[in-house]
Symmetry: D2
Subunit: 426 residues, 4 copies
């Protein structure tokens, strides 16, 4: 028997309480595995290393960080066997439902949280209702708790439906660092998918609004730069230092000053910086974790090339060396019109949906694009759907929250579209 609506909301709140960053979704993965197995008669449930191509993971944190979250998951009390299989940061799941002849339809949802400290303001519903994040400095500030819940809900709905064919739901880790999409796109599970749906909640669309096909994914790349200079006593011999923090600050100032491009939107962010060891030591080391984006891959490459050049020159200026590493990346992608038409039609008939937009631009990045590309290159079709929700704070901010009514909209629209795909028989 399927979860009731309130059970699904309970699941969402449980996930919300324990947001885990990229590749550390130990609790989340194990909790979803348990929920799926206890309720559904799945044909296959691939967990952790079986769900992804481990070699293609990007932006995996260091062992200490992995261990810290692994321990927390154990303390939170999850299935030990599942947990152990995830060790080392092999998270995520692929749930498979086989229902006879018919197309293989994929649904991709992401499951990771963000390094944002959740608001404890009384006006913030998770705080008021007691399901605020239990982990300091971590938060589901982008709605992936709802995405995972919708994934479960769609599986149940299809299990009870007349759907004929195969449904695969990809619970993808590490979207926030655009580090997980590639590892799922390189796994075998995607190979036979004929039609792929992906979704995102919110995106400044209110509850009751559905965007049938989202485009405008900015291509993105993460770039880490480590500066090495030379320390010296800041009082006694400032002239002997090679100041890595001066290099870093010069780089930051000029990264944001990379010229805008006439061909389309670009982005740059020095998202994490750090350097130095003590007030009285000229800093020997500093680090920038930056990201660049572009409306096209070419524009992203333009930003990447300029960013490296700026960083290299800033290091040179302060007589430091610099080493780069690429953290993660994602391409751009486009929603196919056939699927957009289906989603738009289904959404227009869905209860609670008041407005359907055929297309909108994301204006951000998403590594669902890796999976979309993989399916499209195999001759299939893909579509990225927006599920409106009233969200008090912006995405990635401490007061982000969803209107839980939109979870049902998501399940209805996506499950409805999957059935319709089946009926169309294409």
């Amino acid at each position: 028997m399927a979860l009731t609506e309130s059970e699904l909301i309970s699941l969402r709140r449980d996930l919300h309480r324990r947001p885990e960053p990229a590749w550390c979704e130990f609790y989340t993965t194990a909790r979803l595995a348990t929920a799926l197995e206890s309720r559904l008669d799945l044909d296959a449930l691939h967990v952790g290393p079986d769900a992804i191509a481990g070699d293609h993971r990007m932006a995996v944190p260091d062992e200490a960080e992995l261990a810290r979250w692994y321990d927390r998951a154990r303390e939170a009390g999850v299935d030990e066997a599942v947990l152990e299989s995830l060790e080392g940061g092999y998270t995520g799941l692929v749930a498979v439902l086989e229902r006879g002849e018919g197309p293989t339809v994929g649904l991709r949802v992401d499951i990771d949280g963000l390094p944002v400290e959740e608001s404890d303001d009384a006006a913030h519903e998770p705080a008021a209702e007691g399901f605020r994040s239990e982990y300091e400095g971590a938060m589901h500030a982008c709605g992936h708790d709802a995405h995972a819940t919708i994934g479960v809900g769609v599986l149940e709905r299809i299990a009870e439906s007349e759907f004929s064919g195969t449904l695969k739901v990809f619970f993808q880790p590490a979207e926030e660092v655009v580090g997980g999409g590639k590892s799922m796109a390189k796994s075998d599970h995607i190979r036979d998918v004929d039609h792929l749906l992906a979704l995102h909640i919110g995106l400044d669309h209110p509850t009751g609004e559905i965007v049938a096909g989202i485009d405008g994914f900015l291509a993105v790349r993460h770039l880490e730069a480590e500066f090495t200079g030379q320390s010296s006593h800041a009082g006694g011999h400032p002239e002997q230092g090679k100041n890595a923090v001066q290099a870093m600050a010069t780089a930051v100032q000029n990264l944001y000053g990379i010229p805008r491009h006439n061909d389309g939107a670009t982005r740059v962010n020095a998202g994490v910086v750090e350097g130095g060891t003590a007030a009285n030591v000229i800093p020997e080391e500093a680090r920038i974790l930056a990201e660049v984006r572009g409306e096209t891959t070419e524009l992203m490459e333009y930003m990447h090339s300029k960013a490296r050049h700026v960083v290299r020159s800033a290091a040179e200026m302060h007589e430091c060396t610099v080493e780069f590493s690429i953290g993660a990346e994602a391409p751009s992608a486009t929603s196919d019109q056939e699927l957009v038409d289906i989603v738009a039609d289904v959404a227009g008939r869905t209860e609670g949906v008041e407005r359907v937009l055929e297309r909108d631009e994301l204006g951000g990045s998403e590594d669902a694009t890796f999976l979309m590309q993989a399916v499209q290159e195999n001759g299939g079709t893909a579509c990225y759907v927006g599920i409106g929700t009233d969200h008090p704070g912006g995405h990635h901010t401490p007061t982000f929250d969803i209107d839980e009514a939109s979870v049902a909209h998501g399940i209805d629209v996506i499950a409805g579209a999957i059935e319709r795909i089946n009926q169309r028989g294409f």
Copy 2:
């Protein structure tokens, strides 16, 4: 019986192996307590909270940091009773030797290490000889291991001498963050000190060279600035962010650009910076731990005032708020001529000493100045002595090391000067 020279060298190497940062000198304090009690018939040994005025400690690290080093000290195996008395970062010792009528002479040595990763190059003697730091990212890179050893050696030498009066050796914690001097200067122990000696090894003077009186202490103040802006999604809504890292970078660039001053030397260093949480989030928070110095207190205040103004304007520019806190500070000071004359004369007669400079400038900062000021304000005299040592790398760098022969020079010159003070009867 006194420690032999090789026992002293063993002590120095043992301390070198376990460098502990400011207020975390748990092993060091306990180790020194054991060494002093086992060998010397002290009249008093004040340890930890009894050695300092705890309320006047500055720049104490957070509890987690204190706990980490406390645990390490316990694992290294020290006297548990002593260790427990230090809990919470109350480190340091005052050792007292009473030898009848006569002046009270003080000697101040400092005992803390630095957050520098020690070289493991074969040419670096501690690495070659097996007494390199056991603690990653921590190092005795300024010779305080030698200072503490000289303190012990002087106590032993005076214990065996004809000295009549009282000798107090102040083993001061937290010099590197200029956080400990004030707490010793505010303790009762300094009140009856008539003449104070302090010392430093190295300072670009070779083995065999002694500087009788060092001046030119730069007044110093540590300043922490915490920027708060507003996070937003770096791809989706860069315009909604208030970028704390841009504010910080602008501040760093302009801090180093504070005008030089015609009245004398000034310094500024943004020694530690950090900010942001993820590549794809406009950074909401950033932090600078800076220090300013001046040849006089006025010049330091000039730098401090300018630095705050720069930081405040940088925050304002990027629509961030900023909060300041003062970390620690130390005044300037001067060596008294009477003591300089004594030290110069004694040094000239000391075996192994080939050259005596009457005066030199430190060109750095030192919170021994708090103790010197306290004694001088009570009508006493103070003198800061330089003990030359060949050091391959500069102070505060990974290849700093001492020529161990200079430990004996330090003991000979300081102990000799204490005896001479006694003879002069002033």
Copy 3:
């Protein structure tokens, strides 16, 4: 009798040889007046103060600059009476041809040059053919010489045609500083215009290509900031200075770092900067002439507001004051579909035109938008046409040049469209 094609080319080359900056088009205006009067039976020719609303001129240079160009024009030998009427920077013309009943059609062309030093490379045709700019540091680097020539050619073509109605050609000064469009839009001459055409040559479209309707005009505003600090002797008292150049440099760095905006394209440029008086004086004054742009007026206002804030904070940081002045501005605008259709159709039938694009984005700014807005607000229609030309160097660069064959394309397409408008009778 109309000018032959080679006479038109001679006119273009004559104008090319004497490029004059905004509001200094003394030679150009007088030369065009003479050319028009000698060849055409105009019904009216409004020159200088009669052609524009003088109070609405923006970005007029100072008197010395005006006088310098005025004198040059006199030396070049133009009609003294016309020249005198232009004194003080009242340039431009409106030529009127009345041909009985029918619509009033306007054509707007711009006539000013740029402060760019023209290439003297042998590969640069104006250099090779001897019509390179005679004025150091000034150049027709954006094709306005061709625009003015097309304006003359269209007048002649219509004069000889069956056109019934009124044709007004607006020879607009000061487009490059977006300073002249408003003064023509505020003059009485625009009030009765039913349909307005404007044009630009080049824009990265090759010879033989026509863009029927250009959109994507970036709204623009020019902003001047004058910093005042305090001078002092750079060697003797650097600490007494309030360094206006440091303020300016900090502002420039952060102006280019204003966050990109999710709602669309933005631009910022610190196009002219200067400051200081001597190497050994801390600079007391500095200046930035900047411009901001936005895909919409709101985006331009966002950039303007951020830019002022950055500049104000940079001044504050370096204890300087700053005064702002707005130089000039232009709104956005859109080409009406009715006219786009006409132009596209005519262009498709024009000899030498090989490719017609219905729409393209300018991605720059233009103050023709003031005239377009004025006509559209009066219930009329407007259209901005692109005339392709092979141009070796980019617009605003020293090697910009046109393929003179495109002058004929411009005349053919625009005159043809005007006749068609007349036929359609709308």
Copy 4:
């Protein structure tokens, strides 16, 4: 008959009214020539090209600037023959008085003004008394008008005295750009000078105070950097530009951030900057005129080397090229004790002098050091004397002015010292 005191004050005020920048001292040179010839029976008066080694002039302005000042001098009405001899920027004089056997004593005074706009405040005496600068943006803001006057006064006093030997007064051009000292030091006139005096008024010493020997001349070098990038349309193709103004701003920010040096005082100033041509063009060119100083030549070289490195890296960062040129420079120097003793003694006996300091630090630069070095290298002695004067504003500021009473102090002390040198016969 010598000039009366009021005549000397008139001369000073006349010079004050017509301040001329480096190498443009046409009026000043001609005016001094006339004054000297009309009043004194000189043995030789070398003017312009005869006074200096023209090839060693540094920092000569361009021809247009020279011509502008030359024309002004002619308009002001000076001896045409003298004026013509100065054409091209060969300014300055050497006046020679031969009085039989005895030492050759030199006195060096400088004569140029500064690019500072003089205050017109009523509290500013030159404004109130009607001798404020007649030239916009030029001012005697460092007292060289008084220096020249003292030079004349000393010649007269010695002419009337018992002095036996030769007196040469060097009226040196172009001190403010440290461009003239070398050309006088390389001329033949300095070769036989046995003892050289130089002087400066003010320097924060009040009226009635004399500094017998000034030291602490900062070695200085002027450095010009010209950046070349690539222009492009700021709205249409910002990505095609190579922004020379961004390079310049990055360089300025980091020039001021060159680390302070433990060996002594350093200075850096980006005194003049400029770049760009129009608001809507990405700037192709930019320029910095900077100076670096050091307490020693080594420190100046340290700053110079760092400054070039910063500028080169900033150019590289923004894909610009940069060309350097050295503008001018001056070494350090020391006053000889023998002369200091004489000056101190004479000053102590001079009417109106209330306080004599034996030594003080200049803390600035001066190219008198070239002449001092030349004399000292020939075995002679040199001394730089400070003549106190109450000055309301600082040197190089719009309200700088002198207390005219100090002109007499200067003449008395210097002439007295010259006579004493003669008596001492050394």
